[in-house]
């Protein structure tokens, strides 16, 4: 086991969790206000691309992160207004956004940098990692947290912040009310559309951060469709965690770990086609298990309603 759980494995696991975790928080917030956001894949991809652009132009990772957030928030306006003011179907809008993000980034990659597939340049400044002395000497958890970006630390802090906002503040109470019964919230003076729009834009900011971590956090490269299903895994994490930030974070940790284990198995000589499926197998298994649990739950509820 000690061979298996190496410092490298733990570090890559924690690193793999970050984008999924941020996207899952975004999804949980949208879920709370009753907008089914499954555009995180696209929101993140826009963020990842914008981060590279910002960093390339300014030679500053911080600017890259800022541009990523701004771009992803702007992109999220489609869902924010589409699902509220224009009364569109969130699922359809999200599918459109994901396709748009994929096509748009591939096109801009060619148009701006004249490359296709991947873009990397020495001018791109990556996110620096925070080194904490003595941390690497703590086994497992310490290995994982020893050298991580500020976004990773921020993501875990945001889990606490989101949980506090949702469950302890007036804004959170109203958000949950808006999600559950918008008509009732409206009669109590809560502007349902405003809450939903702002929440979706915040989800854009979170996904922008996730994208920046993806492109600037490790290798300073943008690749077409580099989100590779992480946004979808986040959707699943939200479902598994029933929209509760802490449970969602636990689900993300599971996926991130599966991802890293896949990487590790590859290092042990298993074919990468096989090891790459590890996170998806875990996703499917988790979905199936939670679906069973939810089914019996829903039945219990129906019974009580009658």
């Amino acid at each position: 086991m000690s061979d298996f759980l190496t410092p490298f494995l733990m570090q890559s696991a924690v690193q793999a969790i970050t984008p999924i975790l941020l996207a899952a928080l975004a999804g949980a917030l949208c879920g709370a206000v009753g907008v089914f956001n499954m555009a995180m894949e696209g929101q993140m991809l826009i963020g990842a691309f914008a981060a590279i652009c910002g960093s390339y132009a300014s030679h500053s990772a911080g600017v890259g992160v800022g541009v990523a957030i701004a771009a992803s928030v702007a992109f999220s306006l489609i869902l924010a207004y589409g699902a509220t003011v224009f009364r569109g179907d969130a699922v359809v809008i999200c599918i459109g956004m994901n396709l748009l993000a994929s096509g748009l980034t591939a096109y801009l990659l060619r148009a701006l940098f004249n490359v296709s597939g991947t873009f990397s340049d020495p001018a791109i400044a990556g996110l620096s990692r925070i080194r904490i002395p003595l941390m690497p000497s703590i086994p497992i958890l310490g290995w994982g947290l020893a050298r991580q970006t500020a976004i990773t630390w921020g993501a875990w802090a945001l889990v606490i912040v989101v949980a506090l906002v949702l469950f302890k503040t007036p804004v959170g109470l109203r958000m949950r009310g808006v999600g559950e019964r918008p008509d009732a919230a409206e009669t109590l003076g809560v502007d349902v559309n405003r809450y939903r729009i702002v929440t979706v834009l915040v989800s854009g900011a979170l996904c922008g951060l996730a994208g920046a971590q993806l492109s600037l956090g490790a290798v300073n490269v943008f690749a077409e469709d580099m989100t590779a299903g992480r946004g979808w895994i986040a959707v699943v994490a939200v479902m598994l965690g029933r929209g509760h930030p802490l449970y969602c974070a636990a689900a993300c940790a599971l996926f991130g770990f599966a991802d890293a284990v896949g990487l590790r198995l590859q290092g042990l000589g298993l074919p990468n086609q096989l090891t790459d499926i590890a996170p998806y197998v875990v996703t499917l298994a988790a979905l199936a298990i939670s679906h069973r649990a939810r089914n019996s739950n829903a039945l219990g509820k129906a019974d009580r309603d009658v």
Binding site: K168, L173, D183, A302, D305
Partner: protein, 506 residues
Amino acid sequence: MAPAPELEAIGVVKRYGALLANDHIDLTVESGEILAVMGENGAGKSTLMSLLYGLQRPDEGRILLRGAEVRFSSALDAIAAGMGMVHQAFKLFDSLTVWENVVFGAEPRRGPFIDRRAARAQVESLTEAHGLRVDPDAIVGALSVGVRQRIEILKALYRRARVLILDEPTAVLTPQERDGLFAVMRRLAGEGRTILFVTHKLHEAMAIADRVTVLRDARVVARMRTSQTTQSEIVRAMTGRNVDLQISRGVAAAGAPLLEVEGLTVAGAGAKPLVEGASFQVRAGEIVGLAGVAGNGQTELVEALTGLRVPDKGAVRVAGATLTARDVAAHRHAGLAYIPEDRVAVGAALGADATDNLAMGFHRAAPLSHRGLLNVAAMVKRARELIAKFNVKIASERALAGSLSGGNLQKMVVARELSHEAPVLIAEQPTRGVDIGAIEFIHGQLIAERDIGRAVLLVSAELTEILGLSDRILVMYEGRIVADMARSQASEEKLGLLMAGRTAAS
């Protein structure tokens, strides 16, 4: 000079296109007064309340609150001015606690957080001050309808409402819950709050209100003091004619059992069955009333009786023929007519015209069907006859069912089912949401059916209806028939207790 009335409407007019919904309405309520606003469906009660509460704006006229004119642009303005409204359909968050529901939108804070302790304390002190017993930490979704209504009242009181509008608040309550509500209303009025009580139930208006304002055809047609009027006078004002409130009926001459139910069980999704071992009979020439609070298995029982649902255990016999687990057509063929609870979704096809609606269920046999083709002329003739006989107010037999008012749509459903001339009739909430005229008509039809020797099973949540029409009364609670008694042994109180799951003190 006397102080200004708490709330006053002067010459209020509201039009929807060509339809005049409120025609120069004047209404006055003093503080500490309970005013019943009565009228038939479509008389303009709901419109008037939505104008007073700021949900809509009047086209003409003024609304004065404590002597000062108010112009509400939304319900929020009305709430800020000290108005509160309890809607018929509650607007509560089921997954949240009672205190969260009450303070929602106006939460006490400590720093950036909700001051949970202060919120709970405020809700608790409100519940104590007004006799509205409820646990602040309970999850609303798990509470009964009567308790939810108290939460709605608490919400209004938390926002310092001085004027409360209660829109048909008793429609969903058991008699005991209703009495509890009345006690609360009296207490609130005693504290100087003003209550507008929208209702169409006469005995309730007489029991609780100080005054009654009656609307008919968008106008105020009468203002009366309950102490100086009678129920029949109010009905005359509501309908514009004399209505015989006493349901007159002879003694039942019950004959052979036509509907026999034995050990009928419908399993639920959970461990507890929805209907559990129901056994009873309905004999020729009797009306059996099935009482119970909505959601205690009546719907599922009726579905099992009519073939809409396959029971898991037990037997159903109609006029001697065993029908257990057979389809709807077999049930109808054996002699079962059914007036469903939901006339809009089940009883009629709103997108089809009256001719088609009246032909449904009769379309397979002569005279409506001939060699596999529909005989349209016969269908139209049948529709005309039924429309005339049952006095359905409709533009023509080709008008869409969806164009009918609730009462007329129900009359159409009743016409179709009675034309079946089946030995057994199951009438499920036959008068829900229809006006007094239609209620009177439908009640008369049910009694006429009984008198010609048919077996009638009447399922109703209205105890007055059950008590007024039935010869025998069954009570359903949590899927079981918990009582089977002759009408003479039943009282409102006794049934109310049984419906609430308590055994009657004999």
